[in-house]
């Protein structure tokens, strides 16, 4: 064997370290390997260096062998638990919020019937029919329909709580001094919209209101119902302002609110008025200046003649711009709900003084002088 002993000639530390760290190119590595095969000294060096490297890395890996906390074993269960908690938090957060978005339910269904003061004499006749469903609702609530009672109570409390800090009225007409009747008028659209969108209101208002709420939550409410809800919200603001104003004037504020809850007749008037007119002018509020003492719900003027219909459906005629009124004999069926000046093709008011009247059934009558009416 023509070999030379290389016991005293060795690769330097850089080469041996590069061999240990696998950082050598193939030619250099082969050279080192050939030396290592015959040099026990360098083999000892690289094995010791490797041993030291392993020892240096050991402390970094030791923590992984430490026993983990008991709850760490449940880390996989944390994922669904966290998701469930988040979903529950969303439900808890948004459910009350969604409920408070529909305050009109409280208006549609009075909860405490015993707190409702007796209606005015003029209202008693028309409101009597509508009070019966409310009473039946109260009976239903007492009978155990707790869920529905809760749904109704929340908007009612909201109205009472928001009254002291109510915003200015949304409707210009509401800025005038208001009495109990006017507040009932302002709050009545809430109920009227419920009545209009659900035909069963008259027979079972509680069920109808509950059905409406379900429809809203499922997004199936019709466009007309949406419009009615907007009117109801306006009415809510006006009502809140009414209560606020009445408290300032030491009048019976709570009574007005409660009274409004028991005014289905007037609510129906406003609701149908909205249905007929379909414009902001129909929402105009009228001060109580008619001989009946009720608020006018519809008015029309042609030249010097003025016709107005009050909440009870009675029509009055004035030929001196409202200074004096005289009732118009009833010549139509049903209850008059709207009167307006008939317009020609050009859109201008007819000079002949033609009025048009509509009743709650949608029939139309016309009159040239406001006194004599004929069906159309």
């Amino acid at each position: 064997m023509n070999s030379t002993s290389q016991l005293d000639l060795h690769p330097d530390a850089d080469g041996l370290n590069a061999f240990v760290e696998q950082a050598l190119a193939v030619p250099e590595r082969e050279q080192i390997l050939a030396h290592l095969a015959g040099c026990s000294r360098c083999r000892q060096v690289i094995f010791l260096a490797q041993h030291a490297a392993v020892e240096a890395e050991a402390p970094a890996t030791q923590p992984t062998n430490k026993p983990t906390a008991w709850y760490w074993n449940w880390r996989l269960a944390w994922v669904p638990t966290t998701a469930l908690a988040a979903a529950l938090a969303l439900v808890v957060t948004f459910h009350p919020w969604r409920t408070t978005q529909m305050p009109e339910l409280a208006k549609a269904v009075p909860f405490r019937d015993e707190a409702v003061p007796p209606p005015l004499p003029q209202e008693r006749a028309s409101a009597g029919a509508a009070r019966k469903p409310a009473q039946s609702l109260a009976a239903n609530s007492l009978a155990g329909n707790a869920e529905f009672a809760t749904r109704r109570r929340m908007p009612e409390e909201l109205v009472q709580q928001s009254a002291p800090s109510a915003a200015p009225p949304a409707e210009p007409g509401a800025s005038a001094p208001l009495n109990g009747v006017s507040s009932a008028f302002l709050s009545s659209p809430v109920e009227s919209t419920q009545q209009k969108t659900t035909a069963q209101f008259q027979t079972e208002p509680a069920v109808a209101a509950w059905q409406q709420e379900q429809q809203r939550s499922s997004g199936t409410l019709s466009a007309s119902a949406d419009a009615s809800r907007q009117i109801a919200q306006k009415s809510m603001r006006a009502e809140a302002y009414t209560v606020h104003t009445s408290r300032q004037t030491a009048s019976s504020g709570p009574r007005m609110v409660q009274q409004s809850q028991s005014m289905p007749a007037s609510s129906f008037v406003i609701g149908t008025q909205q249905q007929f007119a379909g414009s902001a002018a129909s929402l105009k509020t009228y001060p109580p200046k008619l001989p009946s003492g009720l608020t006018a719900v519809s008015s029309a003027t042609v030249q010097h003649l003025t016709l107005e219909i009050d909440l009870a459906g009675t029509m009055f005629l004035s030929d001196d711009s409202g200074e004096h009124w005289e009732p118009v004999a009833r010549q139509w069926t049903g209850r008059a709900i709207e009167v307006r000046a008939k317009t020609g093709l050009s859109g201008n008011t007819a000079t002949a003084g033609v009025f048009e009247l509509k009743n709650d059934a949608g029939s139309t009558w016309a009159s040239a002088d406001g006194k004599t009416w004929s069906a159309q």
Binding site: S3, G15, G38, S40
Partner: protein, 315 residues
């Protein structure tokens, strides 16, 4: 006295004509040499010296292309290289960084290598003093860090240097004995030949074994030496060969089988018949006990010129 590295390829006759350093500015910025006061020109000289001496990691007769040069320099631990050279140059900031990063690991490595804490701390302190350049030659302060070329990590280089110091010290005091064998001096002699064999038979067998070992690859000889002579485990050998320990086991089985066949062929070449050769080796050829300690300790001449350096103060 610190080791004085002699570049392998330089000793093999690589041309010393300086070659342009491509991407020098980028490498200089990436290495952070400026933070240690190492100017661009100094950095270029260091790279040029290392690259030329190693022929950019290529065979001695090959010419490195631009891409090969770039790849070679990219493969260097330039940050460690700059730090080592700055420390060797006495840069205070570099030494502070070196102490903060490497002092404790250096001590731990020394303790792990020696197995004794006091001895390890002494070894680390002496190496640290040596690294700092307390040794002078011809009036010039010398530091072993000048020999670091950045092929591996600086921490690995420190560990290897400590291991070298420790092995050299141990071998000087207990020459040719294994560090891992507590029964130094009682190592059983390899039974190259059975007692009943004649000296002529032993000589014939020795020649056959030498011829067989010579034909083995370097990795195979290293494997036999590490496993049979050093008694290293498969787990220790596997990382050095970049294979799994199961692969090391299979390689061992294959190498010993090939070696056995080659020895039989060599014996047949000496005039023995195959049955006689097998009988010569014994009933089971795998039971053949070879004195690899003597036959493997040879290497190609001129591959390395660094001499083992005894550890200062521990002789």
């Amino acid at each position: 006295m610190p080791s004085q590295p002699v570049e392998v390829s330089a000793a093999a006759g690589i041309s010393a004509v300086p070659q342009p350093i491509y991407m020098l500015d980028e490498l200089w910025r990436e290495s952070g040499a400026a933070s240690y006061g190492l100017e661009r020109e100094q950095f270029r000289e260091i790279l040029e010296r290392i690259g030329t001496a190693q022929n950019f990691g290529l065979a001695p007769d090959a010419t490195a292309s631009r891409q090969q040069q770039v790849n070679y320099f990219r493969g260097l631990r330039l940050a460690d290289l700059v730090l080592a050279r700055a420390c060797a140059g006495g840069h205070q900031g570099a030494w502070e960084h070196f102490l903060s990063v490497y002092r404790q690991p250096l001590t731990r490595a020394a303790i792990a290598i020696t197995g004794i804490e006091t001895l390890g701390r002494d070894l680390a302190d002496q190496l640290y003093a040596e690294l700092y350049g307390l040794t002078t030659r011809d009036g010039v302060r010398r530091s072993p860090m000048d020999s670091f070329r950045g092929k591996g990590s600086l921490m690995g280089w420190l560990r290897t240097t400590i291991a070298q110091r420790h092995v050299d010290h141990h071998r000087r005091t207990r020459r040719e004995l294994s560090l891992d064998d507590p029964a130094d001096g009682n190592e059983p002699q390899a039974a190259v030949a059975e007692p009943e064999n004649t000296p002529a038979e032993l000589l014939l067998l020795s020649k056959a074994i030498e011829e067989a070992l010579r034909q083995l690859a370097a990795e195979e000889r290293f494997l036999l030496a590490a496993y049979y002579l050093d008694e290293r485990t498969l787990l220790e050998i596997a990382p050095l060969l970049r294979v799994h320990e199961a692969t090391v086991s299979r390689k061992l089985h294959r190498v010993t089988g090939q070696l056995r066949k080659q020895v039989i062929r060599n014996l047949q070449a000496q005039g023995l018949s195959k049955p006689a050769a097998q009988e010569f080796l014994g009933a089971d050829p795998r039971d053949l006990d070879l004195n690899l300690k003597k036959t493997l300790q040879f290497s190609l001449p001129g591959a390395f010129t660094e001499k083992a350096v005894p550890m200062r103060g521990m002789q």
